[in-house]
Structures are given as structure tokens and as C-alpha cells.
Symmetry: C2
DNA sequence: TATTGTTATACTCTATAACTATA
DNA sequence: TATAGTTATAGAGTATAACAATA
């Protein structure tokens, strides 16, 4: 518990303000804690790099990518894919459409629903954003080897895809 | 790109609603995407297990643990430790104090600041919560071996402690 | 009856700015 | 001047419930 480097210990930033060392108790053993810290860190890095040039959030960019990969997608399908409520999607789509990145086309088969598509400008913007995104992730993960990065992604994917299938999870909508 | 199990592909939950397969584009290669999904998944698991019995959130429990590990901690130090603004801590401490889990004692050295401490009941509650938390994390990570879980924590810790030290990050408050 | 998109509403988490009382 | 705690306020991001149009 004492040797530095063996355990995941206190982050570099905090403490040392008043000379006293601050203890994190059991938190360094808590996966959820590290997930949160890492997400905050990667979000901030994203803001300083990608968002500084393209005015986008990780969430919006994710939506754009899913729409791009599934032309004609309905809003409800997008909501399911991103695991958020239908109603939450509305404002997001409003934003993306307001910035002319996507369009809502009326569905030829169902007059209730829209088909979402990227505009030409949206596609161009997505290309630029993906380039920035790749650079951002490479930079953020540069402390890891390529193998470690891939391994990390695998471990996370196993956790969240597995957890979703658990009893009690993901109540049918 | 095709062999299942080699790449981190589409989550198990979504898709298959209309028979059509839904593509996630480049997202399965994006670390931030998996971080978010995993955090959502672990939060939901926490809600169904720990929170169902003890009415607590991961954030509040983290604060409790830090206060427990640093008796007499000032609110501003707690804010730094959790990397949130001073003002954000106020309501959190209000909540914990309102539930008699902690007390604000006046500091003997500085009449501006409080010393945060767990009450007896708070300590008892923390013990119960930590037991639930451990069970919750064990269950959530049961798809991983003990070594894989430890490795995952290490990789995350390297990422967020490293990222915090980067130029442009963590502006001095 | 069920589904699609929408609106109204509310709740949580967070930050900024300004205030007070100390230091 | 700087810091500790506080308040008011605002902005994301999310969910629930109800609605009209359509299936």
C-alpha cells in the first residue's frame, strides 16, 4: 500500500497546498472514481483542443458520427443508439440542424418520422472534427502504448456491453 | 474490422429494433465514447444496488470517503480534492450535514473556515455504504479477472493523473 | 393501441460573479 | 490583498408526463 507506482494513488494536481498530504481513502481502489476522473480529464482536453477550433461537444460529435454512419436514421433510432430519451434528442437535432450540419427530411414511408442526414457542409465539418478528434485522443493517450490504448478500450467495451445485458438493466421502452 | 471479438463493436443493447443493424461509425475506436458508456453503465448499476439501499450518489459517497480519510478537512480543501468549485461544495456539505452524516465544526485556527468531520452515524453509514460499494463494483466488474480490473484502474489512473499535469490544464485557482 | 416527434417542466451538476467576514 | 464560505444565477444535460398526428 505504500510503494509508489504499485498502487493507483493520489492525482498529481491536488494537495501540497498547505504542505499537508491529503488522503483519498479507499477511492484509489474504486473503479468508478477513476472513470469519473478520466472522463473529466478527457472532456477538458477535448474542450481545449477539438472544441477550441470547431465549437462542438463530445456528445454532439457522437451523434453526428452515428447519423453519418446511418443516413436516413429516425430520431427515435438515434435516441436508442445514444441511450437517451426521445425528448432529449429533439434539442440536439435542433442545434445540429440550426447550424446546417444535418437536415430533417420527411420519411417517405412514415409521415410521423424524419430521416436525418448530414448536409454537405456537415460532412465537411465532420471530416475536420474527426481529424481533430483523432489528434486529441492520440495526445490524451500518448502516455499509453498503442497496445495499452487498445486494451483499455477493450476492457471498457466488455464492461459496458456486459453491464447493459444484466438483469434489471435497460428496461424496455 | 469484421471478426467479432477482435474489435470493440456495437453494444449488445441497441439495434435489432427494426431488424436493421445500426452502425456506430468510428465511435468504437473512440476512447471517450467507451468512457462515457461505461460511466453511464456503472452509474446505473450503482443506482440499482448501492443507492437502492442507502440513498447516496457516487459523488456524495466520494466526498464522505475523503472527509473520513481527512478529519477536520476544510471545505475549500475538499473542493480542491474533488476538483470542483468551492461554491459547488456548499450544497453538498449542506446535504450531508442535513442528514447528520457530517458536522461543520468551527476551526480553532481560522474563524473563516470549518472543519468537516463524520458523525458517529456518518461513520456507521459509511461502513455500510462501502460494503455495498465493494459488492457493487465486484458485481459490475465480474466479467473481468482481478488482474484485468487492476490493470484497468492503473491505465485510467495513468491517463487522468498525466492529463492533469499537461500544459493548459488545471489553471491555478 | 402503439409510435413519432414535440413541448412543458423539473431536477442534478456545475460554474461565474459578487458578497461578508475574516486573515 | 487574499482567502473561506456563501448566495444568486445561469447553463448544460437529463428525465417524466402529456399532447397531436399518424401507424
Amino acid at each position: 500500500m505504500r510503494s509508489p507506482g504499485e498502487m493507483a494513488d493520489a492525482p498529481a494536481a491536488a494537495g501540497a497546498r498547505n504542505g499537508q498530504e491529503l488522503s483519498y481513502g479507499l477511492l484509489p481502489q474504486v473503479l468508478g472514481y477513476h472513470l469519473r476522473r478520466t472522463q473529466v480529464a478527457i472532456f477538458r482536453h477535448f474542450s481545449r483542443t477539438v472544441a477550441a477550433e470547431e465549437d462542438i461537444t463530445p456528445g454532439l460529435l457522437g451523434m453526428l458520427q452515428v447519423i453519418a454512419a446511418n443516413p436516413g436514421l429516425a430520431q427515435s433510432r438515434l435516441a436508442e443508439a445514444m441511450e437517451v430519451d426521445r425528448s432529449t434528442i429533439v434539442k440536439v437535432v435542433d442545434q445540429l440542424e440550426g447550424r446546417s450540419l444535418i437536415v430533417r427530411e420527411p420519411s417517405p414511408h412514415d409521415r410521423r418520422s424524419y430521416c436525418l442526414r448530414l448536409t454537405e457542409g456537415g460532412n465537411a465539418a465532420l471530416q475536420r472534427m474527426q481529424a481533430l478528434m483523432r489528434k486529441h485522443e492520440d495526445e490524451f493517450t500518448q502516455v499509453l502504448s498503442a497496445e495499452e490504448r487498445q486494451l483499455l478500450i477493450h476492457l471498457l467495451a466488455r464492461l459496458h456491453s456486459r453491464a447493459e445485458a444484466e438483469p434489471g438493466a435497460a428496461p424496455p421502452r
